[in-house]
Symmetry: C2
Subunit: 763 residues, 2 copies
Amino acid sequence: MTMNPSTLGTDVPQVTARAKVLGRAQYAGDLKVAGMLHAKVLRSPYPHARIVSVDTAAARALPGVLAVLTGADAPRAMWGVHHKERRILAEGVVRFCGEEVAAVAATSEEIARDALDLIAIEYEELPAILTPEEALDEDAPGIHPGRNNISHEIKFQRGDVDAGMAAADLVYEAHYTTHAQYPGYLEPMGSVAAIDPDGRLEVWTSTHSASLARVRLAAALELPISRVRVHQATTGGGFGGKMVEDANNLIAGLLAVKTGRPVRLVNNRLEDFLAAPSSVPEQITLKLGMTRDGLIVAKEVRIIADCGAYSGLAAEVMHVSAMRSDNMHRNANVRSHATLVYTHTPVHGAFRGFGGTQMQFALNSHIHSMAEKLGLDPVDIHKRNAIGAGETSIHGWEIGSTGLKECIDQCTSAIGWEAKRTRAKDTGAKRRGVGMACAMHVSGNRTIGNWDGSTVVVKINEDGRVYIHSGEADVGQGAMTMLSQVVAHELTIPLSHTYVVPPDTDTSPSAIGALASRITIAAGNAAIVAARSARDKLLALAASELKAEVDQLELAEGSVRVKAEPTRQASIAQLARLHIWRHGGEGIQVSGSWDAKTKMHDDQVYGNIAPAYSFAAQAVEVEVDIQTGQVSVLDSFVSDDCGKALNPMAIHGQTNGATVQAIGWTLYEHLQLEGGRITNADFADYTMAMADAVPMLRGGLVESMDPNGPYGAKGASETAILPGAPAIANAVYEAIGVRIRDLPITPEKILAALRQQQEVQHA
Amino acid sequence: MTMNPSTLGTDVPQVTARAKVLGRAQYAGDLKVAGMLHAKVLRSPYPHARIVSVDTAAARALPGVLAVLTGADAPRAMWGVHHKERRILAEGVVRFCGEEVAAVAATSEEIARDALDLIAIEYEELPAILTPEEALDEDAPGIHPGRNNISHEIKFQRGDVDAGMAAADLVYEAHYTTHAQYPGYLEPMGSVAAIDPDGRLEVWTSTHSASLARVRLAAALELPISRVRVHQATTGGGFGGKMVEDANNLIAGLLAVKTGRPVRLVNNRLEDFLAAPSSVPEQITLKLGMTRDGLIVAKEVRIIADCGAYSGLAAEVMHVSAMRSDNMHRNANVRSHATLVYTHTPVHGAFRGFGGTQMQFALNSHIHSMAEKLGLDPVDIHKRNAIGAGETSIHGWEIGSTGLKECIDQCTSAIGWEAKRTRAKDTGAKRRGVGMACAMHVSGNRTIGNWDGSTVVVKINEDGRVYIHSGEADVGQGAMTMLSQVVAHELTIPLSHTYVVPPDTDTSPSAIGALASRITIAAGNAAIVAARSARDKLLALAASELKAEVDQLELAEGSVRVKAEPTRQASIAQLARLHIWRHGGEGIQVSGSWDAKTKMHDDQVYGNIAPAYSFAAQAVEVEVDIQTGQVSVLDSFVSDDCGKALNPMAIHGQTNGATVQAIGWTLYEHLQLEGGRITNADFADYTMAMADAVPMLRGGLVESMDPNGPYGAKGASETAILPGAPAIANAVYEAIGVRIRDLPITPEKILAALRQQQEVQHA
């Protein structure tokens, strides 16, 4: 007899790995459909212009061109998450450089590209509003008709901030600015759209959510939702950028509807830089009141966030910035005022961490600064203020588990915090320092239509192997592997005997998709429900076959057996066959649903929005070259409170990736805009962190065993990106005494700050 | 307010019609998959030969050829329904002319065809056994190793046949022979097979049953069943020929496994004639005992059936011939002995009517002859013997409903039976006569693994439109339309708001498929269960939304409303959205199963195998030209007891098609074999009935309202083919006094019989 083959808690290669490394996985760009056309998109060269005239005759006349569409051909419906304000193709006016103005479908990509050159569009360039300051000027014209440039505004307070500030021993205010980060996934956004034999629109797309993509396609193309079918193609990373903020699958869908032919639209990297939402740049003015022993007693924050020309998900991102970090602490007095502003710039929106990175940069930098002023170790301040398990946070979050203090201890110990903090300061050109930061994230979020649940269908085949149906997206983070692990564990079968059917809105259960680090907790729990329901069917049938009571039976090693007499048994395969082929039979194809027992925010942002909350802490050591301003990360250790690590290898993959993406954002990546135009829209000029910029990545897991998580697990794909930037900024401060509050931390800023420091010292 | 839009009982165009007439429907041959190879099959030119040597080197060397497979490359597993006796590609010996010997996959169909010519196979031709008589000769060598040439034998008796015969006033025995009919569907058999990104075999095929195709593919290719995925491609007719008796999708699958590439294998018409199972030729010796007033009191039948080289489903077909018609009558004394014999000829098997046509030809011809001898009207004999509703037949069939007598009255009245029987006989060259016949069929058959059930999943989309998932096959007969009608009726929505998802073994519920006229009764009932379960979910949610008790609510016109206050209502769309987007939500995607409360035959063929039994009667008028021997059908009226006609237009389509197929079998269609080789394997030489051979088709429905049927409905796709041949034979007899017992009724046989008649008269 073999051992129970459960893989829970062990390192498991992704179940999608084999198809990917063999080159068999079908990304949207790999799909080849008979009669498929190739699409290209013409984009605005101006950040703001009136479209005076459009002449597509020459493009349409080009042999091989099947369709040339402009705004006049697109549905009247507007699309967008928070505001319906965007047309599939611009009409009358363009609002950012890169906005989609026309689309061509042709028999080859080359012809489509050539046709773009033949589209004659006369623009009247108009003055562009490129910064939030200009946008908020009272005299500024509205970027969208009939309204000012404030896209969204959030104001709330809780407790008595003024009293808290008055009672504080130290009140400190500072201003932080954060910049946009391009998601930088390996696979640019792509879709293939076709008309199925029944005249329905069928789309294969790279997405965080086939379900949400379908909802949006239906609305934007003015189709009944059931007339749209979305398949999730293998998705090569998303990081928030493939949610519902880009127009790629809408344009492919529109071209398919207009031509009746399959249409492929896959961004090249330049196009992807122009079209993908980058993270939301925020200016944060943070004021904290603290007692002399480090207790935070009041917090006030003002945020000005820039959504670009269309709001997308930026309002929701800003909401997170405005309030999420409050829930880490016991402080009872907070006041927030956040303003989202339109500008004539490319769109910003969802990004891994979803507004957490911006605020955690400010908050952790701030705590470090105040610790120094109070003569305290920031570690002690974080631990002192940390909310505990069983507590309810200021905004109503019920903290079922937290391993934050353990994370802090683990990462600081790993980095040698005590010793390195107290060692003599370097005096040469290269100066080392250590920094740390903390963060929290959600595992799920009751934010869409008061449902944060998931449904999983388990189908047991006649060979005892199991198909798992879920609409939840594997964007590379490992959702399919998690589902396989859970079902295999519950049914005591090998992982190789499971197969996760990719999301397809015709057949998959309803699902929200890969956002808010929700899939492990929501779909993982649903998979348990479904698998146990399937197990109950196996047991009931085995009871009659083995002539035993159900409670005398157990499922083990892929068979149901009489506990007291294990040789009396029937395999899952036998039972699955018999479950069909008998009187009253039916296949074992059972559905399990799970929804979090959480509460949506009320209009005062009070509620318990997630079934569990994840925490992380990170400590880094940097070296700053004061002659060149170059910052190098020498060591990094990130500790992730993931509840229970179902697949440690996958979580380390997430934390390692998060660390690199955080290093990139902090030190290197910066979308350069000149006159509203992105000038570094390629990987040569947009410098993501390369191997030589990344230390040996280290990390550890803290298993706080959340009571709501499947086997105690929480989400583990976003938290670890949050503490990276402030940990580095704090370490830079420790190294050279310079506080950079304006990301990214470039050599120029370091050198300028060092000069200013010297001037102050010499003054 | 609109009326309840139910279409039950009204003429409804097939829901698949639009895709078909627009040319959008994807038959297997229409599929184009990137990188797809084209396959061709080399077939044996001999009915029996030893394969001495095989040399594929030249074929493999042809540029564009990816694979050349022979028996040595095929799995060791044997396949077949009744006996596992057939290799995917023959090895060592070939047993019929047309047997698959080698298969090629190449980059074009032309190259594949050319490669066939380069395969050098040396055969040693061996003596072929071409008739059952030769096969049954004691000295005949065994066609399959280690056994004689009897593939299957059935013997049973019930009651006391000898006593019955002794008590009869008239005992009459005669010998009938029936011939093979090619299924003659518009779409020849075809498949596309590919390897999916996970390395599984994925097959699109034209089939009666995706589920059974998958079971067979897995077994024959020695794969775990869950490593095979079968999609039902749009299927252009089956008539029994696309069950599991041909090797098409096995060969496509084998080539895909061996090449790792998608492979298309679509028969041309010649290949299809060689590969498809044609109906089972049977020699029937029938002896009936009858009282002077027409009561059948004993029956004895001997059948010699020819399955060709492999048994396929022929044993099951012969079983039906041997016993099914016994259940029409109250006669308590029967004895049957049926022998299925191998010959070195192309395979015979399942065909519309499944063994009923053969026996009903003999039985109805026989009754007509005996009626004449007794001076009775055959109509009276049929009515006198007809089993009634509520009775249990000799073999245990529980007759829940029968409209046989009404069918007899309806069709004879329509044809002008009385007047035409009694009119003066024609004396010119063209002589008219009327004939009639009766038949019964099953609606379902508990024959496979003691399950005859079905499962349907109903998924309500957020726009209130409904997807219907079933694994049951629409082979053109209208299964999808029936499912749409049932679900639309139950949910009070328009038919256009339903969509039936084509069968896909990854996602569809378990299903048996299109056989035994079972889908309306099995899947129709399952659809009712599923739809009502969905309705219950709507009602439960509406109760809380409308603040009413469930029993105060009704579902009508696409909304749930308070009966007493119909303006208090919520649409299905609203409720479907809310069913997801709420606390504890989940999509409405519910499964309903139904299994017939029937009993499998025991080994003495006793049981109640179907939940309902269908009946039909047909009357025809023919004109026989005694100078040419030509028989013309002047008029035909078939009456179909379908229980309840859910879609009269579809049933008339079935009865019309059945009548034409019966006319073809009776008068025109005949697979000509010379030395074991089919010599008329094309539509020019294999003469199906053309428009000028078919009268204005007439028919009527008899609604006997079966208690087990959905809304009273029974199966309606096979019964109507059964009475055609004997009705014509009887009418020919009435016209010219010549009894043809050897089908088909050709001019040559008519003229020969007339000559013999004259010789007798002159003797």
